[in-house]
Symmetry: C2
Subunit: 240 residues, 2 copies
C-alpha cells in the first residue's frame, strides 16, 4: 500500500462539514488537479462553476432535492459539459452528439475524481451531487449556462464533521469479466445483499433494513429523470 491507495480506499462520502473554510491555496490545488487529468483528444470539454453566492447555494440545495450540505459545505462545485467554449473560438466547429456528450460525461467524471482525491489527500471530504439533475433546467438557468453547455453534477467539499463507515461494494468477481461478458453469478449478489443488510443495521446513523437488490429495484423501476433528454436536446447536446 502507498499514500495514494490509502486515500482511494479510505473514501467515504462526507455530508457533514465544520464551518472551517477551504483556503485559497487548497482550492487552487483541487482545481489544478482536475485540470491535470486526461482529456479525450485534449478537447478539454468541461467547465466547473464554483458557487460562492449564498442565495444560489440555498437555491441549489433545494433544487438538488433538499440536500442541506449543498448549502453548508465550504465549497460547492458544479461540473458541466462545455462545448460553448469551442464554438466561440471558431464557427466551423459543429458539435455532433451523442458521441460528444458521452465524452463530456466521461471526462467530467475523470476530472472530478482527481478533484475529490486531491481534496481527500489534504484531509478534506466531499460528496458527488447527482441530484442537481432533478432540476437540470432550473439549475442551468440559475448558473446562466449558454447553449452547448449543460449541468452534469455537483460536488460538496469541506472539513469533515463526521466519520462514516465505508460502504461495502459488489465483489470484483461481479464487476470484472475476462475476454467476454460473463453472466451474473446471482450467489454473489445474495452474499452482497446480506453484507449490505448487516452494514445498514450496524452503521452509526441512518440505520435501515434493506438489501442492495431491493434498493436498486426501487431506484430503477420508476422514472429516472425523464426530462434529461429534453434538457440536453434544448442545449443542442443530444440526439444528432
Amino acid at each position: 500500500m502507498n499514500a495514494v491507495l490509502d486515500t482511494i480506499f479510505e473514501h467515504r462520502s462526507i455530508r457533514k462539514f465544520t464551518e472551517q473554510p477551504i483556503n485559497a491555496e487548497q482550492l487552487d490545488t483541487i482545481i489544478a488537479a482536475g485540470i491535470a487529468a486526461s482529456s479525450s483528444s485534449l478537447l478539454q470539454v468541461n467547465s466547473v462553476i464554483r458557487i460562492t453566492d449564498p442565495i444560489k447555494r440555498k437555491a441549489l440545495a433545494t433544487l438538488a432535492g433538499n440536500q442541506p450540505y449543498v448549502e453548508s459545505a465550504a465549497e460547492f462545485l458544479v461540473f458541466c459539459i462545455d462545448f460553448q467554449r469551442h464554438i466561440q473560438m471558431n464557427d466551423k466547429v459543429k458539435p455532433e452528439f451523442t458521441e460528444l456528450t458521452l465524452i463530456g460525461a466521461v471526462d467530467a467524471g475523470i476530472m472530478a475524481q482527481n478533484c475529490l482525491l486531491a481534496a481527500e489527500s489534504m484531509g478534506l471530504g466531499g460528496v458527488y451531487i447527482g441530484g442537481l439533475r432533478n432540476s437540470a433546467q432550473q439549475v442551468d438557468e440559475l448558473l446562466e449556462l449558454p447553449k452547448y453547455t449543460a449541468v452534469l453534477f455537483g460536488m460538496c467539499l469541506g472539513h469533515p464533521a463526521q466519520d462514516p463507515q465505508r460502504k461495502p461494494r459488489l465483489s470484483p468477481q461481479v464487476i470484472m469479466h475476462e475476454n467476454s461478458y460473463q453472466p451474473l453469478d446471482i450467489n454473489k449478489v445474495v452474499e452482497y445483499d446480506q453484507t449490505m443488510m448487516d452494514y445498514y443495521a450496524s452503521r452509526s446513523s441512518n440505520q435501515k433494513q434493506s438489501t442492495w437488490s431491493e434498493q436498486i429495484t426501487t431506484k430503477l423501476s420508476g422514472e429516472s429523470r425523464p426530462h434529461m433528454l429534453g434538457y440536453l436536446n434544448g442545449k443542442g447536446l443530444a440526439a444528432k
Copy 2:
C-alpha cells in the same frame, strides 16, 4: 504537496511499455481501487472486461484505429455501462435513458480514474482509449456484450518504456467560473495556443507545428462517431 498530489500532477499518458507483466496483486489492487470509487445511488452500473486473449487484443488494437499499444500493453481493460446486471436481478427493473446512460458514463470516468491513479502510484503508466468507440458495434460483438451493456472506452496499463513531458492544459481561469457562466477570455486561448506550439515544437518525439485551436477545430468540424446514437439505441441505452 503530498504523494497523492504528486501522482495526480505527474500524470502523462503512457503508450510504450516494457514486456514486464503487471502482477496479480497489482491488478487486484487496480480493480479494487476502481470499485472503491463513488457510485451514483450505489447503483454500481459499470463492468470492466479484462482482455487477456492475444487474438482479441490484436483485433481491438485495429478496431481502435490502429493503436498498437492496445495489443502490447501488459493489461488492457474495457470499461462498460452495464445495466444488464440489474435487469437480470429483477424484471421490474426498467431502465430509462438518457439519464441512466449519463450516470453510466460519469461513473465509468470516476471509476477508471481511480484505477489509473492506483496504477500510477505503483510505478505503472497507462492511457485511455476512446478510439474503441470508432467501431463500437464490432467491439461489442467481440466482447459478447448483452443488451443494456455498452462499451465506453479502454485503458492500456503497463510498465512505462517512455518518459514523455506533461502536456500543457487550459488555464484554471478558463475552466473555472464563479456563480454563473463567464464568457471565454480569448486572450487566454491565444496564450495557450502559443504554449502548445512551443510544447509540440520542443517535445522529444512526434514534433509538430499546430495550435490547440487548430486541432480542436479540425476534431470538431467533421463527424464525431455519428454511429454512437444508433449503437446505444440498439443496446436499449438511448433516447427514452
